[in-house]
C-alpha cells in the first residue's frame, strides 16, 4: 500500500517504521526537519519536509495515488484539515486522523464523516481497565 503519514512524532515515526518494514510504500511528512532524527536510519520510506495541510506538500508526497493517509500531527486542527483534503478532495480510500479533543472528535466523525482516533478516550478506558484488574 502507498501510505502517507502526516506528523513524525513518537507515534508517526514508529508507525512509519513498522508499516515500511511490512513492505508498504510509506511517505512521512513533518514540517520540522529535526523530527526525522527519531527514525535513526531505520526507515525505508521517503521523508518530505512541509506541512500536511499544504496541497503542494501532499501532492509531492503522492496523495493523488495514495491508498491511505494517517494524520498524527501535533495539532488536532492540522489533522482535521489534512484528513478532509485527503478524503474529500483526493478521494484517498482510507483516511484516519487523530483528534485529541473528544467533543471535536465526535463532531468530525458524525457530522463530517472522518474516521478518527481519539487517544483521550482510548487512554481513559485503558487506565480504568487497568484499575479493575
Amino acid at each position: 500500500m502507498k501510505i502517507i503519514i502526516v506528523g513524525c512524532g513518537r507515534v508517526g515515526s514508529k508507525m512509519a517504521i513498522e508499516l515500511s518494514d511490512e513492505g508498504n510504500d510509506v511517505r512521512l511528512i513533518d514540517r520540522n526537519p529535526l523530527a526525522f532524527d527519531k527514525l535513526l536510519n531505520n526507515f525505508g520510506g521517503r521523508i518530505i519536509v512541509g506541512t500536511g495541510i499544504d496541497e503542494d506538500v501532499l501532492i509531492n508526497a503522492g496523495i493523488e495515488e495514495a491508498d491511505a493517509l494517517i494524520s498524527v500531527a501535533k495539532g488536532d486542527n492540522t489533522n482535521i484539515m489534512a484528513g478532509q483534503i485527503a478524503k474529500f478532495l483526493y478521494k484517498v480510500p482510507k483516511v484516519v486522523v487523530r483528534i485529541v479533543d473528544p467533543k471535536s472528535k465526535k463532531f468530525y466523525e458524525e457530522e463530517i464523516g472522518l474516521t478518527c482516533y481519539c487517544p483521550t478516550e482510548v487512554s481513559c478506558s485503558s487506565y480504568i481497565g487497568l484499575l479493575e484488574v
Partner: protein, 222 residues
Amino acid sequence: MYVVIVGGGQVGYYLTKTLLEKNYEVTLVDWDFNKTERLKYELGGNVMYASGSSIDGLERAGCSRADVIVAATSDDEDNLVICQLGKKYFNVPKAVARISNPRNERIFKELGISTTISGTSYIAEAIERYVAKQQLTTLLTFSRNEMALVEAELEENSPVVNKTTAELELPYECVIALILRERNVVFVKADTIFKPKDLVIAISTQNEQENLRKILLGEPEV
C-alpha cells in the same frame, strides 16, 4: 447583529474595533492569555480568553446565537475548524475565514466554507499590478469592500519622512491608525514624526487610497 471573531492578531483587533464603532455586538476570542489581557485594556468585555477552535470555547463565546463567525487567526487549519464548527455545529448563518495560503481558497470552498479572505492573494495581486515598490498593501477590506485597512512601508525618500501627521493634508475619508516602528507600536498623534522603515497602518475608503498612497509614498517608480 452578533459577531464572534476568533483570533486577536491585527486583523481580529481592527475588525473588532471597526464593528464596535458600527454598533455591532462583538466578542473577540483568543487563546493567548497575555494577548487577551492586553486587548481587554482597550476593548474590555468584548474580549474573551477561550479556545476558539473548540466546541466548549465557541459555546462560551455565545456562538449559538451568533449571526456571523469570523476566523481571523494566522493558521489556516485553525480557521477551517473554527468555521466548520461555527456553521455546522452552532448553525451560525455566515462564516468568514481568513486564509494565508491562497490555494486553500479552493479547499475551503470544497469543504463548505465559501467566504474566504486571503491577504496573501491581495498582496500577490498588488505585486502583479505594479512592479513598483511604492504601494499600499491591503490587509483587509470591509463595509462591502468600500473601506480598506492598508499598510505602507516608508523608505528614506518617502515624502512624509520627517514630517508630522499635522503637516499632512490627508483626505477626509482616511485615518492613520498607527505605526509599527521596529518592534514597537506607535499610536499616531498630531506631533508624531514619520521615520524611514516605518510601517504605517491606515484605514481609508477605496476612493481615497490613491491619494493616501501619494501622500505617504510619492509617485511610483515604474
